[in-house]
Symmetry: C2
Subunit: 412 residues, 2 copies
């Protein structure tokens, strides 16, 4: 029988009533003839409670024990969901990570999935099980210890199962009803997309649209797993939500698919850096080692052997970045006059695979912002994305103006 | 290094502070040179919450899923305890049932332990681990599913580990500070026993002294595991609590060691049963099949081919017993005039291994009750126990009078 993967996040299984509602959705798919693999998160709030306990006991906790504790929430939901399905006469069985087994490496708290053997589940499907309810977010290391995949790891679990079992689709049930052209809280004209390409979703996810974990989209793209994002709080038709899929499945699309933003970017400038070959490595090496996620980088033209170097990073990593750079200066690895951090900026990005074949997107973006009197502080581009840093006070204005300029309220 | 098993019940690990207190006790034993196996229950209330959810979803739940859900509480405590010990610089590691593995049969929700291979834990002890924190109450079936041992199963887990690892002792930390000659709430003269024989503890446990699960005492007796019951809420010396051990370790003891009682007994009488060979089997067979735990049985002298048959069973099984007997009557398997249930009785028992060698205990018991005007309704005896059923209103009086008569407030 064809296999379908369905994933329910924390808010979708927060109470027994919601678990029942989710189970009904599963029942609908079983009735259509699918063997279903359901991936569940912990009931919302549970994981935070467990994490809180661990932190209270041991701020510098052993990640192996952290994983053993925080993975419990998903186990509970998996058992409760299996019971709920059985009560609806759907043959179901719960599976903890080690029972599948979902094999990972030993990087506790942020483990990578290495393999999902299909034998155990397929044997049970062969015996009449119609639904395997799998605890998300967790696996087992080569040492036989429980691992977790990092926060939001249940999305990744779902995609990995879809890939391993050649599922027809991977439906991600969540508390929003799809992927929008921009945040509806910022622009009332935001429109739900029927389809979006993996690459676009990746850019949007990494830019702060928190619908899907970035890793899960990467994995879906690599294995060409069709992902559907939809709401668990509404009655759903077969074409509800947003399908995240390969470009080839998308016949027509706007040049720009969405406008994303991130409030948590900071702009840092090293003033008057002694310019020499290898200076970029000398700056960004220490930042990388300190765990600073540098996003955009620009370097001014050098004058008299000195240059300014500007980069952006998440606001909460500014302190760490400053420390790393000051140490590098003390060690004599780099030389600069001053280090200036501007935490009052926001990043706005236009994303769309259409940019590959159509020029003029950047020009239109810059002109739109200029017309609104929004000053651009940093620009970065990729094949399907243009990002700018602007003063944070212009963020909403910039998003709305760009959404209008690229006519995202209208379907392609 | 010698091995010690320490078990902490739900109230002893109910909060992070209590877990810390328990961990300190473990640290004391590690400092003495023991390798310690700690068995933990779920934080008190947790298991009931999980059981409640399962019952709400599915009153006739699948026991496999019940086990998967309710075993989660112990996993959380095990991880938290391991983290707490690590924070105290004690090398500790948590172990879930399947990791040990604690191998059971497939009788979900009331599984029997079949084997505890010592290789995994011993390998880790060899690498420097000083404490293995094991989630109590759970194991793994031959099919690779999680099993649980039934309520209170963590005591049994602890004794089984002590047997498998040849532990010097198995310390059961609980919310009482030992085993008493009777319930201190009923007699202010109740005295804590320093030692008690397995057989006595078994009788007391099955008679309602809820300090230890009966099964754990049976197991301790079979493998001669020295069990110590003590409080996790007091500073403890080396000879604190009560040691449950083989008779041979007890030099001197009173003839009677304790007076137990049970409020939840009912007396049922089948009036005018047609007496014939096999009639007892015809009555008690159906009761057994219906899951009724018959305790005491007496049969009056038959007159004109008819007799009265009286037995006792737990009060909450009366309805089930009535149904089973009425069905047997309808089927023609037995024949009686009337069935009378008296739920207003209590069982009082005097227990002591000294009874084996000393006569007159029963006579003294009957005279004491008679002197107090307490009428005895049913009598049953075993080698080390005499039990009587009396009207419930006399229960406290009977316990106090017997405690005085056998001078249990004085040590042997």
């Amino acid at each position: 029988m064809p296999v379908l993967v369905m994933k329910f996040g924390g808010t979708s299984v927060a109470t027994l009533d919601r678990i029942r509602r989710a189970a009904k959705r599963v029942g609908v798919e079983v009735a259509k003839g699918y063997d279903v693999i359901v991936i569940v998160s912990a009931m919302s709030g549970k994981t935070n409670e467990l994490v809180g306990w661990v932190n209270e006991i041991s701020p510098l906790y052993d990640a192996r024990e952290y994983d053993a504790v925080v993975s419990s929430g998903e186990n509970i939901t998996a058992g409760l969901m299996a019971l709920t399905l059985q009560e609806m006469n759907v043959p179901a069985r719960s599976w903890q990570g080690w029972q599948v087994p979902l094999m990972t490496n030993s990087a506790h708290s942020s483990a990578r999935i290495e393999e999902i053997p299909t034998d155990n589940l397929n044997a049970k499907f062969g015996e009449g099980m119609r639904v395997a309810v799998v605890a998300g977010f967790q696996g087992i290391s080569p040492e036989g210890r429980i691992t977790t995949l990092g926060r939001g790891g249940s999305d990744t679990t779902a995609v990995a199962f879809a890939a391993a079992f050649g599922a027809e689709r991977c439906d991600i049930y969540t508390d929003v009803d799809g992927v929008y052209t921009t945040d509806p809280r910022i622009s009332s004209k935001a429109r739900k997309l029927d389809k979006i390409a993996f690459e676009e979703m990746l850019e949007l996810a990494s830019l702060g649209a928190k619908v899907l974990q970035t890793r899960s989209v990467e994995l879906a793209m690599r294995y060409n797993v069709r992902l559907r994002v939809l709401s668990s709080f509404e009655e759903q038709s077969d074409d509800a939500g947003t399908l995240v899929c390969a470009e080839e499945e998308i016949m027509e699309s706007n040049v720009v698919s969405g406008i994303a933003y991130s409030r948590d970017e900071a702009k840092m400038t090293l003033i008057s850096v002694a310019d020499r070959p290898g200076i970029a490595a000398a700056i960004f090496g220490p930042l990388s080692e300190a765990g600073v996620n540098v996003d955009m980088i620009i370097q001014n033209i050098a004058e008299e052997g000195r240059t300014d170097m500007t980069f952006s990073c998440p606001t909460d990593q500014v302190k760490r970045a400053e420390k790393a750079l000051e140490e590098a200066k003390e060690n004599g690895d780099i030389n600069y006059h001053d280090l200036v951090a501007d935490t009052d900026v926001a990043k706005i990005s236009a994303v769309g695979i259409g940019m590959r074949s159509q020029s003029g997107v950047a020009a239109k973006m810059f002109k739109t912002l200029s017309d609104e009197g929004v000053n651009i502080k940093v620009i970065a581009t990729s094949e399907i994305k243009i990002s700018v840093l602007v003063d944070r006070k212009y963020m909403e204005l910039a998003v709305q103006a760009l959404h209008d300029a690229f006519e995202l309220d209208k379907a392609a």
